[in-house]
Amino acid sequence: MNLMTPAAPATVDIAQTIANSPGYWSTVLSRLLRDKVTLFFGLVLLLIVLMAIFAPLIAPADPYKASMIRRLKDIGFPGHPLGTDHTGRDMLSRLIYGGRLSLFMGVLPVLNALVIGGLLGVIAGYLGGAVNMAIMRTMDIFYAFPSVLLAIAISGALGAGIGNAILSLSVVFIPPIARVAETITTQVRNLDYVEAARASGASSLRIIRIHVLSNVLGAIFVYATSLISVSIILASGLSFLGLGTKPPEPEWGLMLNELRQAIYVNPYVAALPGVMIFLTSLSFNLLSDGLRSAMDLKT
């Protein structure tokens, strides 16, 4: 749906997901442990997240403290291992702190979309008929926008701010998640054993809770991991345009924007925040790919 959204899983292999027994998950785990690339980038991601959480403990300096005499120092400058930015603030500390807002703004929209989109998709798929039409055709309208444009349209109209950026990105990710949830729910609803459960008197809520969710959740979780990588790029992109965080907050996209003019003075320092965005997004993508292939027992 977007500039870069990965294709949604169109169908689930029911026979496989039904086998979601403890045995299935231990097989998935052992397959994951053998996948070195996924493990490595999972570890990188863990480090980035830990770094952001424990920023006050790790960061060597105050990320807000400017210094007129130490502006745009190069990497390796004494006391500033990754140099300083255009107002003399310590880059290493700002990169460490920057992960907090960048990860928050990247992950939260996908979590919002997971709940809202998942709910809408399950409702549309389970009830079918007019409700399905109403929900899914509304989703189609949002599919008519390239995701970057949709995010910028909403946050541009609402104005700059972290909350508005998160809101606009949530809107971007609800339709694709709803579509996946709807497809799977429709498939599960028509299975023989679900019909049998209904015939034996199980309530709709019980069927959704036990049979539908167990199939939907796994699929949309894996899909959501890959959406997070897009979300991180877009969230930092909004900040890069000045639509997300405001100065002097440390946030990777905003830092990149502030250092745009500095590429003529100190290009390596100016490019650093982008390296962090790239690394985070890449890790989420590879982790999602690894999870997907580990969960697909056919290969």
Partner: protein, 316 residues
């Protein structure tokens, strides 16, 4: 076929209408749309006068219909900043974005097909691993950052290509000569990375899937040469790849705002960015409406073309 096209067209109408409703609603998202035009010290009488002049005193559905009627006739209103018709400003910027997006799609297509084709053919080889890695990196890279890196390398360090703009001295008069094409290279390459990654992945999986089918074995058994077999594979992969490419062009048209901002490229994205920061709501609305409609039309065209090339794709 004609019937299919008509059905597809009919299906597009509600979506197009939905898009116009969404774009119309944008103006009311940020609260009272008058805030952008009224001076903070305006009297209540002046505010009421302006409200009537802009038509904001009418009920919302009426406002929507009036706005839609005007938009259908090509009247997207006037810019708040310079009072010029939005459509005129937009039409001047569209060719620049179109040029950038088409160029980027072409680069992405050429590299993606080459890399993906080789990867699909030599599955498991080094080329395959490189192409797969490149595909993932292509969709993971923040392209606004990549643009900055390319500027650092090719404009600042090597000084081969200009850093920003689309002509010497900030001029935006375009000509197809080297003096101007030089300005197009860096933004187009930056923008091409995403379609390149996606097309690489698509071509790889499509080629791999086709090669595993029985008809390829039959062709080989028949004694066809390597190149002849590949021609069959290419013909079978073409519809999928073309469809992906068409959609990518649409994404690039709408998504070039970040790259246009990095390179000061005077296209629609640049207009949009400017409109957001001057709170020029008619300009914002007009640009988004045009880009979204373009995307809807492109989707339709891709669908119809795809069915025309391969009738098996026809949707019920």
């Amino acid at each position: 076929m004609l019937r299919y096209i008509l059905i597809r067209l009919l299906y597009t109408i509600p979506i197009a209408l939905g898009v116009t409703i969404f774009v119309f609603a944008l103006i009311h998202l940020s609260g009272d749309p008058l805030n952008a035009v009224v001076a903070p010290d305006a009297t209540a009488e002046m505010v009421a006068k302006l409200r009537a002049a802009y038509g904001f005193d009418k009920p919302l559905p009426v406002q929507y219909l009036i706005w839609l009627g005007k938009a259908l006739q090509g009247d997207l209103g006037n810019s708040i900043v310079n009072s010029r018709p939005v459509l005129d400003t937009l039409l001047a910027a569209v060719p620049n974005t179109l040029m950038l997006a088409i160029f980027a799609t072409m680069i992405g297509f050429a590299f993606g097909c080459l890399l993906g084709g080789l990867a699909g053919y030599y599955q498991g080889s080094i080329i395959d691993k490189l192409a797969t890695g490149f595909g993932i990196a292509g969709v993971s890279v923040p392209h606004y950052w990549l643009g900055m890196v390319l500027v650092i390398v090719f404009a600042v360090n090597l000084q081969w290509l200009p850093a920003t703009g689309m002509g010497a001295g900030g001029s935006d008069a375009w000509k197809w000569d080297w003096e101007h094409i030089r300005f197009l290279i860096l933004p187009a390459v930056t923008l091409s990375v995403i379609p390149c990654g996606i097309i690489t992945r698509t071509v790889r999986s499509t080629v791999a899937e086709i090669l595993s089918q029985e008809f390829v074995q039959a062709l080989r058994a028949k004694g066809l040469l390597h190149g002849q077999v590949m021609r069959h594979v290419a013909r079978n992969a073409a519809p999928t790849v073309l469809a992906v490419m068409g959609l990518q062009l649409g994404y690039l048209l709408g998504g070039s705002i970040l790259v246009e901002t990095v390179f000061n490229w005077p296209g629609t994205g640049y207009l949009l960015n400017d409109a957001i920061f001057r709170r020029d709501i008619p300009m914002l609305q007009g640009t988004i409406l045009l880009l979204a409609m373009f995307f809807v039309a492109l989707n339709l065209a891709v669908d119809i073309l795809q069915t025309w090339v391969d009738p098996r794709m026809r949707r019920s």
